[in-house]
């Protein structure tokens, strides 16, 4: 594997051997620098934190994706996690995976539930593919999972209701990373779930056992929340965002929460003034985003004498969607799904232990 090659190159022995040929200071520097592993800058698995993004374009996703399936994804709040690549996951074997997962859930639920009577344990799992969300050739198709179950005390003929749903996706993932994966691995780094935590845990443990992967919680840190706020504000001309709400938590005693709601037209004007002169260019840089947020913070400071940069940004929401620091996302409009998912896929890939 290429990754192993790059770790062999990094050095302690090499540095000692070089001391004869190169100057002392350079080899000291290489010894010191080799211990910096904040970012594994391997040749093929280097992932960079993006400093600029393409401006989101409103795209009618229903042309590519089945509208019913789109309806399953929007207007619901999802909890995010990241997952490492799956070993030997086949999109063709989804039916068998459904059977295996439902059997697994039933067996796990039966353990230790000897006393509870009247609990309907018939779980049915549905794996399906959502075609059309993947952007590049290297992205694996999105997989949507639903767990249906009869409610307790339901009449015999009642249909099973969806008690849990989740989906695995990869949208515009980093091409170098995806190309460097060996052939048996499929990478679907973003996992969104909705439903009882007990079922989420069961699904994750089944995946971990079957495909030898690892799950972890994905939070959305304040930089990414700022990206989302700017991207959504930038969509204002095409679709009215109706409001821009930001929630900060300040580390005072007792901790203070500040909810800052901005009129959409004002937010748009501020964002527009931040965009550099060449607005014809498609990309948005991180400086414009930080400038936009700083503008909002300094306005707040002028009126209330509270410096919001001393706290942390917890949540942002607009009519197009909302996003919380703990990893919750809600997309209300189907038009900008690819951009949001691309940002979240990047977060998941960066969070993964490579």
């Amino acid at each position: 594997m290429e990754e192993r090659n790059s770790t062999e190159k990094t050095p302690c022995n090499n540095a000692l051997a070089q001391r004869r040929s190169k100057s002392y200071r350079q080899s000291m520097r290489s010894c010191v620098e080799a211990t910096h592993l904040a970012y594994t800058s391997g040749l093929l698995t280097a992932l960079r934190i993006p400093r600029s993004r393409k401006a989101p374009k409103s795209r009618d996703i229903t042309k590519q994706v089945d509208p019913d399936q789109v309806a399953l994804l929007v207007k619901k709040e999802w909890q995010l996690s990241y997952v490492t690549p799956f070993y030997q996951f086949r999109h063709t074997q989804l039916k068998s995976y459904s059977k295996q997962l439902s059997a697994f859930i039933v067996s796990e639920k039966q353990q230790g539930l000897a006393i509870e009577v009247g609990q309907e344990l018939g779980f049915k799992v549905n794996f399906s593919v959502v075609l059309g969300l993947a952007e590049t050739d290297k992205d694996a198709e999105t997989v949507f999972i639903q767990i249906l179950s009869k409610q307790a005390f339901a009449a015999k003929d009642d249909a099973q209701k969806v008690v849990w749903s989740g989906w695995l996706t990869c949208v515009n993932g980093d091409l170098d990373y995806l190309r460097s994966l060996p052939l048996e691995f499929v990478s679907l780094p973003l996992f969104c779930t909705r439903g009882p935590e007990s079922l989420t845990v069961l699904v994750k443990s089944w995946f971990e056992k079957t495909f030898d992967c690892c799950f972890g919680p994905l939070g959305i840190n304040s930089t990414n929340l700022q990206w989302l706020a700017s991207l959504w504000t930038g969509c204002h001309p095409t679709i009215n965002i109706q409001y821009l709400k930001l929630v900060w938590t300040l580390p005072t005693l007792p901790p203070m929460d500040v909810t800052y709601t901005v009129h959409p037209q004002d937010a748009w004007e501020l964002w527009d003034s931040m965009r550099q002169v060449d607005t014809t260019e498609d990309s948005i840089s991180i400086d414009e985003v930080t400038g936009f947020i700083k503008g909002l913070q300094s306005h707040f400071f002028r009126h209330f004498r509270i410096d919001l940069s001393a706290g942390s940004l917890m949540q942002i929401s607009t009519a197009l969607g909302s996003s919380h620091h703990s990893g919750k996302i809600k997309i209300a409009s189907p038009n900008y799904i690819p951009t949001i998912l691309q940002l979240l896929t990047e977060c998941a890939l960066l969070k993964m232990p490579i």
Binding site: K9, M28, S30, A38, N221, T223, P251, A310, S312, H325
Partner: protein, 185 residues
């Protein structure tokens, strides 16, 4: 501009003075208590400040500061900005081994990694060491105090054969510039 100068006063006998600069004023108190308790052989005076410049009133009574430590909490952007603005009030003579950056919550998952990168770049551009500290546990505070004392004693000239400038070339923060630094033939 009232710059803080490193060599404008005479040093005390067997004495070392450290200045802890922190915007939030939480960690410096705990750290100061631990530093004073840990060191038995040398008189360590710890001075606390919120930011530079230091008030003019104490100018006469203030002893010579041997080490200035900037404590930056990565959980807030303001902490970093306040440290950056305070840097302007230090005489350039301090940057030869008499300044140190101490960062807390570097492992915190909610901290955007770009903030640590910018602190590292700042420390690397000034050739200063960057220490990461854990401020929530007593063990972490003790470890941080121990490391600061090691640097302080060298900066105050109390360690024979070692000067602040020499130590800083060994301990200074470096930022690996991506791939081309890793070329070993």
């Amino acid at each position: 501009m009232s710059l803080l100068k490193p060599f404008s006063k005479l040093p005390g006998l067997n004495t070392a003075n450290i200045l802890l600069v922190e915007n939030e004023e939480q960690f410096q108190q705990k750290l100061a208590d631990t530093v004073v308790l840990q060191e038995k052989n040398v008189n360590v005076n710890v001075r606390l400040a919120r930011s530079l410049p230091l008030p003019m009133e104490n100018e006469e009574s203030r002893p010579r500061i041997d080490l200035v430590v900037f404590i930056i909490h990565l959980t807030s952007e303001l902490s970093f900005q306040s440290a950056e603005t305070s840097l302007k009030y230090l005489d350039p003579g301090y940057f030869q081994g008499k300044v140190c950056f101490l960062v807390t919550s570097a492992r915190n998952v909610s901290v955007p990694p770009e903030r640590l990168v910018s602190v590292r770049k700042l420390a690397a551009s000034l050739h200063c060491p960057l220490l990461c500290a854990e401020d929530q546990t007593t063990e972490g505070v003790t470890t941080a105090a121990h490391r600061l004392l090691a640097i302080l004693k060298v900066a105050a000239g109390l360690v024979p054969m070692a000067t602040g400038l020499y130590l800083s070339t060994l301990t200074r923060c470096t930022v690996p510039s991506d791939i081309d630094q890793q070329n070993f033939e």
